[in-house]
Subunit: 407 residues, 2 copies
């Protein structure tokens, strides 16, 4: 029989105490469970009268989403922990450190990031994060390069990919992002006001074709170790620091999926501005800032990735003239397509984003939803023609204005 059971607060404290060097020997430890209870227990263990603290995250064997309970493999705790360790080795400043774990009990003991804000929350509050694009661009460039056939031993990569076989969580993505929004599904979740949009998504065969290409890439292209769920709720920020958390969807997939996740979520916040800002000038400034953040994510990724390629390429054949440009141009196309898919599903699919869902007025919310869908569809539809980040910005701006799109 498995030893798995949900940890008690008392067990969490004992566990915390067993981690060498984290707490003074006789410290009085306190524990609070701070998870949202949907997928994981999250214990915050602190030492009274000190700043010492850690997080213990434990997976539960089900997922609660809108009241439903789905069985979900505990193996995701192993995958998340292994992804954190792999990413932390590559980007120590950008990923929390793992102090201990048990695959059997499905928990990971890790660095406490309580002083950080969840990026999505900060964006909704209108915060600017001038370092964000640089930090996340670096995270993307380094993690994607060093886990790809370009930057790591190609035999070790295959073995590592075998450790990230992640059918349960990939299925969530495959269903919720690459299928449900395009058909009638009990998983879908949108207000009657945008039934016309939902119906249009279901009947748009040309769009389905592009989505199917992207779905096929997601299913088959083991390009690099992805975070797999890199939305702004998986990113902790402070003005001077960025941390990427929660990589339980990690698997070997197409690089553009991670980059597209970040950009798509920035664009969801961009689309939400129409529902938030009563002041035209504030709104325009925030929108411009978000576009520049999205652009910056790509440009920092690209320059970082090219630098790593030029300095640390493991694959001799990839030195061939023109191949780097070609490779990066393909990532950009994928990025646009996946960003679009991510936007669409957050409007009509099961799981939404607070950026748009918490807009107080129905009209403003609906306008934001329609805008997000227009941008998302445009990115998906045109992703194979995109040749530069400027093309993406042009598509976003044209779609936002309800204009005929052309790049």
């Amino acid at each position: 029989m498995s030893a798995y059971h949900p940890l008690s607060a008392e067990e969490a404290i004992q566990l915390a105490r067993s981690i060498p060097g984290r707490f003074p020997e006789h410290a009085e430890l306190e524990c609070r469970e701070i998870g949202d209870g949907n997928l994981n227990l999250v214990f915050h263990v602190t030492a009274k009268n000190t700043a010492d603290s850690i997080i213990i995250k434990q997976a539960v064997p089900y997922a609660k989403v809108v009241g439903e309970s789905w069985p979900l493999s505990l193996d995701r705790a192993r995958i998340e922990r292994l992804a954190l360790e792999t990413e932390h080795k590559i980007c120590p400043e950008l990923v929390p450190e793992v102090y201990g774990y048990s695959d059997e009990l499905a928990y990971t003991v890790m660095e406490d990031l309580s002083e950080y804000t969840i990026m999505r929350r900060g964006l909704i509050e209108g915060q600017a994060y001038p370092k964000f694009a640089e930090h996340i661009g670096e995270f993307l460039a380094r993690t994607l390069f060093y886990t790809s056939d370009l930057g790591m031993n190609q035999q070790e990569k295959k073995v590592l990919a075998g450790q990230f076989v992640n059918p349960d969580l990939c299925k969530i993505t495959e269903d919720l992002i690459f299928e449900d929004p395009y058909r009638k599904s009990d998983n879908n979740n949108y207000s009657e006001a945008i039934e016309d949009e939902a119906e249009a998504l279901r009947s748009d065969t040309e769009l389905h074709f592009e989505v199917t290409l992207l779905r096929h890439k997601f299913l088959t292209q083991a390009q690099a170790l992805l975070h797999g769920d890199l939305h702004t709720g998986s990113i902790f920020v402070k003005p001077d620091s960025t941390k990427v958390i929660d990589p339980e969807f990690a698997f070997f997939g197409p690089m553009g999926f991670d980059i597209g996740a970040v950009i798509g979520n920035l664009l969801l916040n961009y689309a939400s501005q129409i529902g938030w800002s009563s002041d035209e000038q504030t709104r325009a400034a925030r929108e411009a800032r978000l576009i520049e953040m999205a652009r910056g994510v790509w440009t920092h990724f690209e320059s970082g990735f090219r630098l790593l390629w030029n300095e640390g390429l493991q694959d001799e054949m990839s030195r061939t003239a023109g191949y780097q440009d070609y490779y990066i141009s393909q990532i950009l196309k994928d990025t646009a397509g996946f960003a679009g898919c991510k936007m669409i599903r957050r409007i009509v699919g099961l799981s939404h984003v607070a950026d748009i869902d918490t807009i107080p007025g129905d009209k403003g919310r609906e306008a934001a939803q329609r805008k997000a869908l227009a941008i998302g569809k445009s990115l998906v539809r045109h992703h194979r023609s995109i040749q530069s980040i400027d093309d993406i910005v042009t598509l976003v701006e044209q779609a936002s204005q309800g204009n005929e799109v052309s790049i």
Copy 2:
């Protein structure tokens, strides 16, 4: 300590006897080791005075190629056995049956195919195999469809792919097919007479670009379970029956790699005819027959694959109008490119083919080598423009005649 040791003939007989239902209880068994000693021991166990027989194939922990000894994981025996079982379930008529195995001792007990001829040998002798294209087309259509995201449960596919992580054998392909022919390498092996060709391969940047694209697909695209080494030496034939053996290179890769392997090897035999047939008419007839076989492999694959898709598609999004045509057109391009890579490496790389190497006259052999290289390079160079099997035939015929190639 591992229990692994090379089996003795006596052990092989005991083993054979332990397989239920293969031999009469008191049969007198005889054993001969018939392997070529390079990669495996192959025991042929027969019952005296009956037709009963089996094969026991055992991996040895090294590969002997042109005198060199490379260490090679015994895990390849598990992979080969699992591939045989998987393929046999899908194509019982086309793959030998597995009767027993030990992963620890790295052996597989399987159906004896002694009454078959190795396809390459038969082709060199000028045999016609009128059923071959149909049989191998069916093998390709069924194994590739039913192990892809189109034809199998997409979560089970990921788990199965994890069982086929095959770094050692993939590395052989990556080095010998996708790298060594395009640079100076101790692995390369060709006569001085074609040094000009070898030098041209090393300096042809445009060709390298196309090879790098194909290499990247091989490294990253987990489309379906491949045989991984489907040359005419891995195929046993009788006039009315075809069996695919030796899938130790099996892994999840791009479908076109397997199809290209078959077609590339038929075209190597095609290119060899110039060195074999003194009689112009015989030669022309054989060449025409080989072209038709290559064409038939594709057309049987394609029609079989479309039928399976239309009847057994598991992936809802792939029903989108136009997607099947697009998908198959991509496989065809890959097929051409991989066929070309396979041809090139058999001329200048480590491991050659008897079709060409055993041509008795130096001049004839050299002419065949140059012809094979011309065809191979043309297929690689133009693979992304190919739109039909006729395009491939046109490229082959133009390259054979030393003409400027255009499709």
